[in-house]
């Protein structure tokens, strides 16, 4: 292929940047309860880890985080900060475990802070409901300001939705970033817990690609009023992680 025919854009490189585990969101400090499963000896094989991630994707991230992301991305396109804050509040209230809520808002806030530093936007906490401007960059600044003034929580999927919108990444690809990033963070946690060697980690990620795609297809066009999450076993497990005395991961 000659250089002239290259059909690549800056937006695609931006997607790689946000999806890179090197991007500073602190996700490497989370295991979403895997650590508790590991120390309770309730999960041992690579298949069980794959099943754990699959359940999280289908019953937690898909019907809650994924829908929240796609709707906030859409709202950002019309600088509709009120709707963004409503979705942010709804998603925050659906995260039942304190550790998970805190990790999500911390990652979300730092993601926004970092993206704002390179799209040349100055965060502001003033006039957060003044959304006259149609600029996608303005709505991301206003959302960040709302977090700082405690008018919004800053949960990670909403932050990712707005950052993706500001960088011209489609909502479909943004959902892919969300679910793929989650999958990689759990596999990374499993590797650091010594549960399997590195090739097995990549095999798990590969095997979950169809699940990621299916979860996106199922949820991406749903209205945020249809958000839900139901995985009581994992909720209880994640709560038990909060009480562990010795742990490597925040969640």
């Amino acid at each position: 292929m000659s250089i002239k025919n290259l059909d690549l854009t800056i937006d695609e490189i931006s997607m790689l940047q946000l999806g890179d585990s090197f991007f500073p969101t602190g996700m490497y400090t989370t295991s979403s309860g895997l650590e508790a499963l590991f120390y309770n000896k309730r999960i041992k094989s690579k298949e069980q880890i794959s099943e754990f991630i699959s359940v999280c994707l289908k019953y937690q991230l898909g019907p809650a985080d994924c829908i929240a992301l796609s709707n906030s991305h859409k709202a950002a396109q019309s600088s509709d900060l009120k709707t963004i804050i409503e979705i942010d509040d709804l998603l925050f209230s659906m995260k039942l475990v304190k550790e998970i809520r805190e990790a999500s808002t911390r990652s979300g806030t730092q993601l926004l802070n970092c993206v704002l530093s390179f799209i040349n936007e100055t965060p502001t906490s003033e006039n957060i409901y003044n959304t006259d401007s149609n600029s996608s960059k303005s709505v991301i600044s206003s959302y960040f300001g709302a977090i700082k003034s405690k008018d919004a929580h800053g949960v990670y999927p909403i932050a990712l939705g707005l950052a993706s919108n500001a960088l011209n990444i489609t909502k479909e690809r943004a959902c892919m970033l969300l679910l793929y990033g989650f999958t990689v963070s759990i596999v990374g946690a499993a590797l650091r817990l010594g549960m399997f060697p590195h090739f097995e980690g990549q095999q798990i990620i590969h095997s979950l690609k169809p699940v990621i795609l299916e979860v996106i297809k199922t949820n991406i066009e749903r209205a945020y009023s249809k958000m839900w999450q139901f995985s009581p076993g994992i909720d209880i497990l994640q709560i038990s992680h909060e009480r562990m005395d010795s742990k490597m991961f925040i969640t």
């Binding site: 500073p24 602190g26 989370t30 911390r106 906490s125 700082k148 650091r192 742990k247 490597m248």
Partner: protein, 221 residues
Amino acid sequence: MNHKRIPRIGIGGPVGSGKTMLIEQFVPLLSQKGYKTAIISNDVVSKIDADRMRKNLASERGLLPESLVIGLATGGCPHTAVREDPSMNISVVEEIEAKHNTDLDLIIIESGGDNITTTFSPALADYFIYIIDVSSGDKYPRKRGLGIENCDLLVINKIDIAPYIGADLKVMENDAKVVRKNKPYVFVNCKTGQGIQEVAEHIIKDVLFEEPPKTVINKTA
């Protein structure tokens, strides 16, 4: 960001070098002068250090509120948590700043025990103390590493055991001078408090710029 940045010290060093005990020694000296501190302790696999400092400094001596000694897990990546991706630490720091920017003088961030390449992101810490100890041998400073070379203050702990392990403190001192190009270093014994006053003076001079404590400023304002 609406709140003013509170000065932050990062403390790094290998496992067992005395990071926690150094904090336990200099916080009371700063407290005596009226400076109020908060501590974030990055533990690799436990909350032992944070729990100990909360008990020793907050619960028993009341030098700071228990809520201002915070333990943070690092996903098994202690250096990443203070350098390549300090997001979680910065989040906690900003949460503290938002609540205490009128009364808190200093935030101390203790890294999890790590190797000699540890440094702190300037976005996280304004001043970096690296601590090593004599038990690892008197060639330690000569081996260099980013922590030893680049820190603002090198602290060499456990000087009392030098005679028992055949370590020559003069060798360590000469090498520290060469490797650090005359940047400061302090010999301490964290068990007895020897040398800690000098560490506290460095912090007051180089981090707090000899400003009076905020509570004093607020009273006179």
